[in-house]
């Protein structure tokens, strides 16, 4: 298994009667950056959420770093320990300080001593450029700062793969770039990333592979250059026309 980070083969999922994922095949190599786009309701968030079992798929195979995702809690735990996730709504813990948000996972899930967890937390806060906010609570930070804390919180678990589910969609426009900058740096350091986003500028800059989804299917994949210049499918052309026109 040479350097395959994520493998999805024939993945199907239903919400009740609604067929939300249809025969999804997706391979993400180690160190590869994949950007998933598509209209809302196309299932792109669900794909990402299936990778760390926030949603269970009903058919097909998902492997992360060679571990197959099954109902076995052991496999779920093993995969989650390798996969970090950043949410649209940040989902920071409002009752804890920024530092406590970052040390909770390493201390409780990994059993790291406090001093070591705090050193690590401060290092990652430095990386996302807000070391001075360590003692504040999430509610005292701007949206962009909160999302950077959320990225740092994931990084503190030292994952091999980072998933981003529309990380800038809940942000005011002026805060989007500070979050994207952090993500670009992360990409440059070689992190394997799967990013659901409408930020096509970011996609052009970092993506190795573009994935376009519509109505639960992967309609088109390709390298960014050809994807943006010469989309093959009509649906993808229409979508790109809509989001790139302004």
């Amino acid at each position: 298994m040479a350097e395959t980070a994520i493998e999805m083969i024939g993945v199907n999922k239903w919400f009740g009667d609604f067929h939300v994922l249809k025969d999804i095949d997706l391979t993400v190599g180690a160190g590869e950056r994949v950007v998933v786009c598509g209209p809302s309701g196309s299932g792109k968030s669900t794909v990402v959420r299936c990778i760390n079992r926030l949603e269970a798929h009903q058919q097909g195979t998902i492997r992360v770093d060679g571990i197959e995702l099954t109902d076995d809690p052991g496999s779920v735990a093993a995969i989650r320990s390798e996969v970090g996730m950043v949410f649209q709504q940040f989902n920071l813990f409002p009752h804890l300080t920024v530092l406590q948000n970052l040390t909770l996972g390493p201390m409780k899930a990994r059993g790291l001593p406090r001093s070591e967890a705090e050193d690590r937390a401060r290092m990652y806060l430095e990386r996302v450029k807000i070391p001075e906010q360590a003692e504040k609570r999430p509610g005292q930070l701007s949206g962009g700062q909160q999302q950077r804390v959320a990225i740092a919180r994931s990084l503190c678990m030292e994952p091999k793969v980072m998933l981003f589910d529309e990380p800038t969609s809940a942000l005011d426009p002026e805060m989007i770039s500070e979050v994207l900058d952090v993500m670009v740096e992360l990409a440059e350091e070689g992190m394997t990333m799967v990013v659901v986003t409408h930020e096509m500028g970011f996609a052009r800059k970092v993506a190795d592979q573009m994935v376009f989804m519509d109505a639960g299917e992967i309609v088109e994949t390709g390298a960014p250059a050809e994807f943006f210049e010469a989309p093959k499918s009509a649906r993808c052309r229409t979508f790109l026309g809509q989001i790139l026109s302004h």
Binding site: F93, H95, A109, R137
Partner: protein
């Protein structure tokens, strides 16, 4: 206003209809009576606090299965809550005090139940059904994203509850939990019927010897009023402290 009406009432004490002398703390006899009545305060408070403490733990244990994804597990919660909630306090008190020792004996156990523990067990179990519902609502009110974020940083179910969900839920459920505590304090009056020497029992006993129900029960009501007001003030203080903790 309360004080005013009291003064008004005591102004009438010379008439035959009123007999505030019976609880007049400035006469030796009256003072003895007042001391006797207030002497029940300790039991009322102790019973209420122990019952509430048990109910808070038991309520959580009952609430958690109610949040399961599996209906079979949720059913355990539903049956407990619906069953316990439907039993009036007084019959449950009789059942626990008179009936439970027989159940124990039939199981070969010799566990006597005195009025003190009979009252506590009854109040705790009865209240736990309500506490469980309060917990369930409080936990469900915490956004789903909190659980998901906790899962993605590797916390297991117990850790997610302990470090992420419950600390946030407790802030929200503190007011209704305080309400339940006030309810327990008041319902502890039922312990008087199985002979527990708490506030109400003492008032009843004094009424039998002094034959002054109006004056004695008035003081009894005031005793509960003071108790409840003190609890309310305490909870408000606690809320303020926790609120400032969460602010921002």
């Amino acid at each position: 206003m309360l004080l005013g009406s009291l003064l008004l009432l005591s102004g009438c004490s010379s008439s035959t209809a009123w007999g505030w002398y019976v609880i007049n703390p400035w006469t030796p006899a009256g003072w003895t009576n007042v001391k006797f009545l207030i002497g029940g305060m300790g039991s009322t408070i102790l019973i209420s606090i122990i019952a509430a403490a048990i109910s808070i733990v038991l309520g959580l244990i009952v609430a958690l299965p109610g949040l399961s994804n599996r209906w079979g597990i949720r059913l355990i919660n539903r049956i407990y809550v619906e069953f316990i909630r439907s039993i009036p306090l007084l019959p449950m008190l009789f059942w626990v005090f008179y009936g439970l020792p027989i159940v124990f004996r039939s199981m070969g156990l010799n566990i006597p139940i005195d009025p003190f523990w009979g009252a506590i067990i009854t109040l705790a179990i009865s209240d736990s059904a309500f506490t469980a519902e309060i917990y369930r609502a409080g936990i469900q009110s915490i956004a789903r994203g909190q659980t998901e974020a906790a899962q993605t940083i590797g916390l297991n179910y117990a850790q997610t509850m302990r470090y992420v969900i419950l600390p946030q839920a407790v802030r929200r459920i503190l007011p209704p939990l305080a309400n339940q505590f006030i309810y327990i304090v008041k319902m502890s009056a039922f312990a008087s019927v199985i002979g527990m020497q708490e506030l109400t029992r003492r008032a009843n006993e004094l009424v039998v010897t002094e034959y002054r129900p109006l004056e004695i029960y008035t003081l009894l009501i005031l005793e509960y009023l003071v108790l409840v007001l003190v609890i309310s003030a305490g909870v408000r203080w606690l809320e303020r402290r926790m609120g400032s903790d969460e602010r921002g």
